[in-house]
């Protein structure tokens, strides 16, 4: 398939990063189209009418939405090193833990970051750490969740890689992913962010700051609305 590949995204967004990481790891050439989230393009709205969100992959005339669905599509539609293992049980485990990372780590972490100080926040921090401990255990001393190479679960959990920048922005004093508590995760973070293919699409500290800077109030409100969910 030599049809053009375009990725509509927002640089600095962890969801967009997942799609880019998959494309880079598979060695797929693509055109990145920066989407202005405050003024969404007709292209985006036409091809992702349900969620109206980035990232959105356009492969020829095919449109694929939802970051992890895009990762699987890229894995299946293009040649290159596999992102998901071939063993059915290992695939199931990768999918299960990816869902866990998204729902129980990243989501709770989001609430922990943007909820103002107090009992609720302490609760989210405790919950996040509990769940991160399970992710820590999943690494089992390996370089990546996928083993020697980056895989589907690493990509799903990649948002953890730039947590320290966000913690700075949110005004957190001590990072949730401390060296002592999560040595494997800290090592993983280093490996992930220095990987050749990923480095090329990893936003810089300034880009992450820029992405989140204008959003702080909105994020606090969003975290508040998520409290009961």
């Amino acid at each position: 398939m030599n049809e053009p590949v375009k990725l509509l995204g927002s640089f600095g967004s962890p969801f967009t990063h997942r799609a880019e990481a998959a494309l880079r790891l598979k060695g797929v050439a693509y055109e990145f189209i920066q989407e202005d989230l405050g003024n969404k393009s007709e292209l985006l709205l036409r091809h992702n009418p349900v969620h109206k969100k980035v990232p959105l992959l356009l492969h020829g005339d095919r449109a694929v939405a939802e970051s992890l669905v895009i990762v699987e599509y890229v894995d299946e539609a293009f040649q290159g090193p596999p992102l998901l293992p071939s063993d059915p049980l290992a695939r199931a485990a990768a999918r299960f833990w990816a869902q866990f990372a998204v729902d129980r780590c990243l989501r709770t972490l989001f609430k922990a970051l943007w909820t103002p100080d107090g009992e609720a926040r302490r609760g989210f921090v405790a919950e996040t750490k509990e769940n991160l401990a399970l992710m820590e255990a999943q690494l089992e001393g390996r370089r990546f969740f996928g083993g020697d190479e980056i895989g589907y679960l690493d990509i799903a959990a990649s948002g953890l890689a730039w947590l320290t920048v966000l913690e700075e922005l949110a005004g957190v004093e001590r990072s949730m992913i401390g060296e002592e508590e999560f040595p494997a995760l800290c090592r993983w973070r280093g490996e992930y962010t220095s990987h050749e293919a990923v480095k090329a699409c990893l936003p810089s500290r300034d880009q992450i700051v820029a992405f989140y800077a204008g959003m702080k109030e909105r994020l606090v409100l969003l975290a508040k609305s998520m409290q009961k969910k």
Binding site: V50, V69, Y73, R91, A92, F96
Partner: protein, 342 residues
């Protein structure tokens, strides 16, 4: 345990049956079921309950149900099944089913076999199940469509959770869990994908081989997961503004699904597939959502209603889906548990 109501006009014949049932229920609970009877069963409603020995957990919930025995004409039992035959529809057949399904345990042979399968000593498929769970039903439908035999083991969820469930799904402690030669797979959509991956030569395929079709299927199954059940729960749990908001979101969701289905027979096109399996068990809950939200799926979204009927014609779906009335009963039970008063 069930409380039995007396009717002052009950004939001696029925009194005898009453005593018999009480004896049988007690006998079953005491693992001493020996009585066997055969009889004419044509033209009667049969409420039958599979009887299994998973008595390693206790239900913390008291089922406040009256066993309606008026109209019951026969009782048949063996080591596997207890059947109550009614000439006319009893006023609370659903309640009878709920009680018996949740309370009766027996059958040592089956427990031993299950233990072997769970330990991986036997190559079977075991599904940790809950009778009304639409998520567990997704898995059962997929397996049934493919003709893959699977042992369904009912779990205690409203009271104390069993040791097997906690061991197999320590992270979420939920059903469904698929045990394949002793290895556990959790989360219904992950299980559906696992079934496709682990049995690639078994037809029908629920996911196409085409990457784009697969991506669409995953997108829509994910959409169903993010919406229907969660919004539906708010619909029956909340009142006033909360319920109104849930109602609006539910209609929006169903409209989106109806739109995606369009004029197709199934979500994936001509064949029953992944998204259909993901959504169809939730249609048993539509009646409850309609009752609480004051709307009609048939009126608002006739294509979706037609799709549900079309799927319901499939043997797997017809056999596995919970009756909508039973779901409503179950929600009534949950409301009692949560202390919600209508």
């Amino acid at each position: 345990m069930a409380a039995v109501e007396w009717s002052s006009t009950r004939r001696a014949f029925e009194v005898a049956w009453l005593a018999l049932v009480a004896l049988l229920v007690a006998a079953v609970l005491d693992d001493e079921l020996t009585r066997e009877r055969t009889g004419e069963m044509r033209g009667v409603l049969v409420v039958s309950v599979a009887v299994d020995d998973t008595r390693d957990s206790r239900s913390g919930v008291k089922f406040d149900v009256n066993l309606d025995l008026s109209g019951m004409v026969d009782i048949v039992s063996d080591q596997n099944t207890l059947c109550l035959a009614y000439k006319a529809e009893p006023s609370s057949a659903a309640s009878v089913h709920t009680v018996l399904h949740s309370v009766i345990h027996t059958q040592k042979e089956r427990k031993k076999e299950l233990q072997r399968m769970v330990a991986g000593e036997e190559k079977g498929l075991v599904l940790l199940d809950f009778w009304v769970s639409p998520f567990a039903q997704r898995c059962r439908i997929a397996l049934a469509e493919k003709g893959l035999a699977c042992e369904s083991v009912e779990q205690e969820l409203l009271g104390e959770k069993g040791e097997l469930l906690l061991r197999s799904n320590p992270v979420h402690k939920k059903v469904p869990v698929l045990l394949h030669a002793g290895r556990a797979v959790c989360e219904s959509l992950v299980i559906l994908e696992y079934i496709e991956d682990a049995f690639p030569e078994v037809a029908p395929r629920l996911l196409s081989a085409d990457p784009l079709a697969r991506a669409h299927a995953r997108f829509w199954a994910d959409y169903v997961d993010k919406t229907v059940y969660g919004i539906g729960t708010r619909l029956w749990k909340l009142k006033g503004e909360g319920r109104a908001a849930a109602r609006a979101e539910m209609l929006e969701t169903l409209r989106t699904l109806d739109g995606e289905l369009g004029g197709k027979a199934f979500f994936g096109g001509e064949a029953f597939g992944f998204v259909d399996v993901a959504l169809i068990p939730l249609t048993s809950w539509f009646y409850s959502y309609e009752e609480h939200g004051g709307f009609s799926v048939q009126e608002e979204f006739p294509r979706l209603a037609e799709w549900a009927r079309r799927c319901g014609e499939r043997e797997s779906v017809a056999k596995i889906l919970t009756r909508p009335e039973d779901v409503l009963d179950f929600i009534g039970l949950l409301k009692k548990c949560y202390g919600i008063v209508e």
